[in-house]
Amino acid sequence: MARYTDFDLNMTRHPLTGDVPLVEDVVAIKRSVKNIVLTNYRERPFNIPFGANIRNQLFEPAEPFTAMTIRKAIIFAIEKFEPRVRILEVTVSDDVDRNEFKISIYFSIRHLNKDVGMDIQLSRVR
């Protein structure tokens, strides 16, 4: 039986039951980490400092200092808001040609004894 269960924020319907599908354990935690990284301050009601607040960094020069700031913000936010994981490594690299930052996060899930990696691209939408 799954230790962690959440629902899929994409809200796609289950083909058989028609219900919102569940995500479990590793997937649930990866989604949670992604939510934390992509949430800005003041987005959540009555919880101003929730999130990594990195979106405003996209308007900074694409250079190593900005990448370093983003990395520190991500580590701080995950350690603060996701107690189920232990961070192994976070890398942030700028892709000047595509106007985006590539983020790779490696972490270990405490109660499942699993090491997991995930990539996130940060890019301007307009």
Binding site: A2, R3, Y4, T5, D6, F7, D8, L9, L22, A28, R31, S32, V33, N35, I36, R44, P45, F46, N47, F50, F81, E82, P83, R84
Partner: protein, 616 residues
């Protein structure tokens, strides 16, 4: 087992969120409710936010539905409308003048027309005043017109087309600072309708005895705070014909800003000037008074239910109060009590004490108008309304404040100034109204809360009455403190003291003395310097009732060239009460009215030398 209900004990966001989590804790399907990054947590946040938003909205909506809790002006106005109450508007100040006309410009028996303009400049502001009725010229010698009433304001006009097809037909007066007592309405069917041109429609204040042929209009305040006018339906009042033109004239005013205009008027330096070529000289006989602001929402909240209860008749004391406040808007505070409470009792009378917005008493003309209004159509047969002036009791405050200089962080003087300003602010906000008592504990708490360094305070009140002496003849005086006077036993020290004054003694020579009591109910006049008794029996004092009676005496002058004789007494109780027509106040211009003495407890010498107001 999952709880099948949510506890609703708060509309706080976090409490709602905790309730939702409590519920999810009982289920197996979703387990990530406790992790802030989860999608479930996001949904819980949105649900809790939505619930709180709805709860807050409902709370505010329901609050605005009741007069007691409504805050928005439009809500209070709307609810008062249901109670048949129209909030009072701003009112114009009125002055009385005598007019001398230019030679050969008038005929005795002719009229000075309505809306003759008079201009006055005072305090850097230019004020325009108008007559509101035609005034007949009765004398061929100056002054040609006397006692002419002029009202401050600016004339305005609006006109509307009455359209039968439009539902409601309410005509909104665009200005907010309109004096509604100056509204005049004419309804003309067409250019040749002479009757419509000359006939003025009357404001309806009651539905009693209104018929289908009465030319009346109704007035109410709309949600935006503007006054609006509407007409009858051919059952209650005439309904204007389709296509008629409604002419509305009114005055907008500066209200209280024009009070006092005319105070510097003298020969060679006239304040008012009339139309050039017509008016030669304007003498002020009564300076502008009665300008008042529009009714506050706090006042509407209080008066609307009272007026509804009164049902346009005066039976109980609150009926009298609400009717007077509604009809005469320049009054700040009204107190009503039965004549049986007077000393001596006046059975069959109801006493109405009134304090105006400007000045301390109202004019005799206004008193008569109020009595007439109450007698004519509102009062009960056999009960005579009598308007009386307020009886002012001045208070002096002495406070010994003990504090620790080591914890104060500021100087003793800074702390003293702060406490003094807090006390005066408290007095300004709370006194000068009828039925408002002064409680010592309130002031003591205020002083104690000023700073953590304050350990306590010993605050005492002294009452002061001001007697207007007659310097021309021997006169007896009486004043009533309306509070018991401190007198624990015969032989106690004196607790009555007046300002020093000069008077004619029994031999006719002028002496200087001051009033005091012998602690046995007899007033004496002492030499202020030597303390020797000049007059053994100068009157009486009743320590139980607070009544002080001074025997006939010819006063010559009061120290400081004052126009009044101040007599002070120590109250028996810690608090001072304001029964009947008494108003407690303090002298803003006298810095010794509020005396604060700082006692530093970190300085042993101060503790030993400091005393409160102890009497033996």
């Amino acid at each position: 087992m999952a709880k099948d209900y949510f506890t609703v004990n708060s509309i706080d966001f976090n409490s709602i969120k905790d309730s939702l989590k409590d519920h999810l804790r009982q289920t197996d399907t979703f387990k990530d409710y406790n992790f802030e990054g989860s999608a479930l947590s996001l949904i819980i946040d949105i649900l809790a936010y939505n619930t709180q938003y709805q709860a807050f909205y409902n709370n505010m909506s329901i609050n605005e539905m009741y007069l007691d809790t409504a805050v928005a002006e439009e809500s209070i106005t709307s609810i008062s409308k249901m109670l048949g109450y129209t909030p009072s508007s701003i009112t114009s100040a009125m002055a009385e003048i005598d007019i001398e006309l230019e030679d050969n410009t008038f005929v005795v028996g002719s009229y000075l027309p309505t809306y003759t303009e008079f201009v006055a400049a005072q305090g850097g502001l230019r004020h325009t005043f108008f007559t509101t009725t035609p005034n007949k010229i009765t004398s061929s010698t100056a002054p040609h017109l006397t006692g002419i009433k002029i009202y401050e304001g600016t004339r305005k006009f609006s006109q509307f087309l009455f359209d039968n097809l439009k539902e409601g037909n309410k005509f909104v007066i665009p200005e907010k600072n309109v004096d509604i007592s100056t509204i005049k309405i004419r309804v003309q069917k067409g250019p040749t309708d002479d009757e419509g041109y000359s006939d003025s429609w009357k404001k309806s204040t009651t539905l009693m005895s209104i018929g289908p042929s009465d030319k009346i209009y109704f007035l109410q305040k709309n949600r935006k705070g503007n006054y609006e006018i509407y007409f009858g339906d051919n059952v209650l009042g005439v309904k204007p014909e389709h296509g008629s033109v409604v002419y509305i004239s009114y005055m907008i005013t500066k209200g209280v800003l024009a009070n006092g205009v005319g105070s510097g008027d003298k020969i060679g330096n006239r304040v008012f000037s009339g139309p050039a070529g017509t008016v030669a000289d304007v003498t002020v006989t009564s300076i502008a008074q009665g300008g008042s602001p529009s009714e506050t929402m706090h006042s509407v909240r209080m008066n609307a239910p009272l007026t509804y209860q009164a049902q346009n008749r005066a039976v109980t004391t609150t009926d009298y109060k609400s009717l007077v406040m509604q009809e005469f808007t320049s009054l700040e505070s009204v107190s009503v009590y039965g004549g049986e409470d007077e000393d001596p009792p006046q059975y069959g009378r109801v006493m109405i004490a009134i304090k105006p917005f400007s000045g301390t008493i109202i004019t005799d003309a206004t008193k008569k108008s109020i009595e007439k209004m109450l007698k004519k159509s509102k009062g009960v047969v056999g009960v005579i309304p009598v308007v009386v002036d307020p009886d002012y009791t001045y208070v002096r405050i002495n406070s010994a404040v003990r504090y620790s200089s080591l914890n104060a962080g500021v100087s003793s003087e800074a702390l003293r100034i702060l406490i003094t300003s807090l006390i005066t602010e408290f007095l300004n906000n709370n006194l000068e109204k009828f039925d408002v008592d002064l409680f010592r504990s309130k002031l003591q708490s205020l002083i104690d809360d000023t700073s953590d360094s304050i350990l306590g305070n010993d605050t005492k009140f002294i009452m002061e009455k001001r007697i207007r002496p007659n310097f021309a003849a021997a006169t007896g005086y009486s004043t009533n403190f309306s509070n018991q006077i401190y007198n624990p036993h015969a032989g106690h020290v004196s607790v009555i003291e007046s300002d020093p004054f000069t008077f004619f003694d029994s031999t006719g020579s002028v002496k200087r003395g001051k009033l005091t009591d012998d602690s046995r109910g007899v007033l004496q006049i002492l030499d202020p310097e030597k303390g020797s008794i000049l007059v053994e029996n100068a009157g009486t004092v009743d320590y139980e009732t607070g009544v002080l009676t001074i025997s006939r005496i010819i006063l010559s002058s009061i120290d400081g060239n004052k126009s009044y004789l101040a007599v002070r007494a120590t109250p028996r109780n810690a608090d001072i009460f304001a029964p009947r027509n008494t108003i407690i106040t303090y002298d803003v211009l006298d810095p010794s009215s509020v005396s604060v003495n700082m006692v530093d407890t970190d300085n042993v010498g101060n503790i030993l030398s400091s005393t409160g107001n102890d009497y033996t």
